[in-house]
């Protein structure tokens, strides 16, 4: 039985053989498990079950802070509550007004395009989720939220808060899901600079307060204060959601690339609640439908162009959205024929006509990994894994 002898005088041969034998056994088992998980994706079910088993522990670990929050909420003074109520009422009225206007604009846009059915797909459903556990080390920036497959959460779903993009779900359990933050060093999100339409990729820097934009040439038109929106490429995040604001642009004469930093808009370290979003994908305007997904080479779902969200409202920046003012609208990305649209909200819709998008996507799909934005008109062809670092395509 002894594959290896034991150094100790007294042999440790119990049930299952010597330590050397058992180690070989478990090491082999680990390697097999890793191989299956990494290369074959056979273990989704196992992971699902394990995540379910782990959830109570995570809940228990979170209970002190949950109790503290509850206590703090329940001893709030009457004045504080009243003030909050007033504030919320004001906000609600503002939002109501904006939403009213939005309906009209959406209809108008549809009529202008002559295709009522071609209205951009809208956010179908929102689900608030509470943060159960949070990891914010420089190696891993993850959240655990209290919604899982039982609530219809799926892998690679966009997660937002009221200020901006937070991340996407990576592992989904029955009642919980793990969210990788956009600031995780393994995460990259395809973005577009709102002012110029220039597209690039924002990579996490392992710090909740900064993202890096490593693929911009030194002469790129970018400056402090520029707003970054999701570009919709990469297939995970819908287009037009605010991501970050540029905080630092450093151009070095000897470096071909500019060093750009941006601060995420979402409040990742202070949020208690996040939003999961579902988008309606069954509209004719949605570029890649069910069957065209299959034809994308090697079924790379990350290449699937995303439905356009309703309002790419550049959130925190004072957004005087109600009037359909065409001037401040960001020019559509250079490659597209610019249809001047009357509204800022729907500026990005025109270039989402079915034809070009899948073409671009399949062009990208011919490239090896999921570097979707390479197909894009952004100058530097970035080779980093994009937008879905852990997403293992079948």
């Amino acid at each position: 039985m002894a594959a290896f002898g034991t150094a100790a005088g007294r042999p440790l041969t119990g049930r299952g053989g010597s330590p050397g034998f058992r180690f070989t056994l478990y090491a082999l088992l680990s390697v097999v498990v890793m191989y299956l998980d990494q290369r074959q994706h056979y273990l989704e079910q196992v992971r699902y079950a394990l995540q379910a088993a782990a959830y109570p522990v995570q809940l228990a670990v979170n209970s002190p802070s949950a109790a503290w929050r509850w206590l703090r909420d329940s001893v709030q003074t009457r004045e504080a509550l009243r003030a909050e109520n007033a504030r919320l009422r004001t906000t609600e009225r503002d939002l109501e007004l904006r939403a009213m206007r939005y309906e009209a604009l959406a209809r108008e846009n549809g009529e202008l395009r002559g295709l009522r059915e071609a209205l951009p797909p809208i956010a179908d459903r929102w689900l608030p989720a509470e943060i159960v556990n949070i990891q914010l080390s420089s190696l891993r920036q993850r959240l655990l939220i209290d919604r899982g497959a039982a609530n219809g959460v799926f892998r690679g779903q966009a997660v937002l808060d009221d200020k901006g993009l937070i991340g996407q779900t990576t592992h989904v359990g029955p009642w919980s899901a793990e969210v990788i933050l956009i600031t995780d060093p393994e995460h990259a999100v395809p973005v577009r600079i709102e002012r110029t339409g220039l597209r690039t990729i924002a990579v996490g820097a392992g710090d909740t307060t900064s993202l890096a934009l490593p693929y911009l040439p030194a002469n790129a038109d970018i400056k402090n204060g520029d707003l970054l929106l999701t570009s919709g490429l990469g297939g995970v995040f819908p287009e037009g959601y605010p991501v970050a604001r540029v905080t630092e642009v450093h151009r070095d004469a000897v470096q071909p690339l500019a060093q750009v930093r941006a601060a995420p808009l979402a409040h990742m370290s202070t949020d208690g609640e996040v939003m999961l979003v579902w988008f309606r994908t069954d509209r004719p305007a949605t570029p890649a439908g069910g069957d065209s997904v299959g034809e994308l080479a090697s079924g790379d779902t990350a290449m699937q162009p995303q439905p356009v969200p309703p309002k790419p409202r550049p959130a925190p920046q004072a957004s005087p959205a109600p009037q359909p003012a065409p001037q401040p609208a960001p020019p559509p990305p250079p490659a597209d024929e610019a249809h001047p649209t009357p509204t800022q909200q729907t500026t990005h819709a025109p270039h989402r006509v079915p034809a070009p998008a899948p073409a671009a996507a399949s062009a990208a799909a011919s490239e090896p990994a999921d570097n979707a934005p390479a197909a894009d008109s952004a100058p530097p062809p970035p080779s980093a894994a994009v937008s879905a670092p852990e997403q293992r395509q079948p």
Binding site: A8, A27, S30, M34, A53, N62, S137
Partner: protein, 157 residues
């Protein structure tokens, strides 16, 4: 190998796991030692027959669920160092706590090296030097941690 000591072992492993996943502010998180790894090492050295490599493997699997990019990563690394600990348990057990801490530091470095290699192999290379800090803090906390575990195990070593 009685039921009682096994129960204590599992309980301590559970507590250690809880400490491992407890949310902490980022600056403290950098310093957080790998409590579960230390606990598993303790049991491998002091009760090699009760726990041993099986404990290492399953504890590693739990770590994978909580924080591993790939299932089996921590399981392999932890199996390796429990194997070393079980093999050398008599030599380690007879040493004073300070020297034990030295061994623990080496074992933790091994552990991180394995994780580092697997991370690279699976395409999640994280080259931040921060990951090596855990080995140091783990070694530093070993003497008190071992004392607490010994106390909980009912025999003051």
């Amino acid at each position: 190998m009685n039921v009682d000591s096994r129960g204590r072992m599992l309980l301590s492993a559970f507590v250690a796991l809880t400490l491992t996943v407890l949310p902490l502010p980022p600056w403290l998180d950098v310093l957080r030692p790998a409590f579960l790894v230390l606990t598993v090492l303790y049991w491998s050295v002091n009760a090699p027959r009760t726990g041993g490599i099986a404990l290492g493997f399953f504890a590693g699997l739990m770590l994978d669920v909580f924080q591993g990019p790939v299932l089996g990563e921590h399981a392999l690394a932890l199996s390796l160092i429990t194997y070393i600990a079980v093999r050398e348990h008599q030599r380690i057990r007879s040493k004073p706590a300070i020297q034990q801490a030295l061994f623990v530091c080496v074992a933790l470095v091994f552990y991180e090296v394995v994780l580092f290699m697997i991370d690279g192999w699976t395409g999640h290379p994280v080259t931040s030097p921060v990951r090596w800090v855990h080995a140091l803090t783990g070694a530093l906390i070993w003497p008190p941690a071992a004392a607490i575990l010994a106390y909980s195990a009912g025999r003051l070593a």
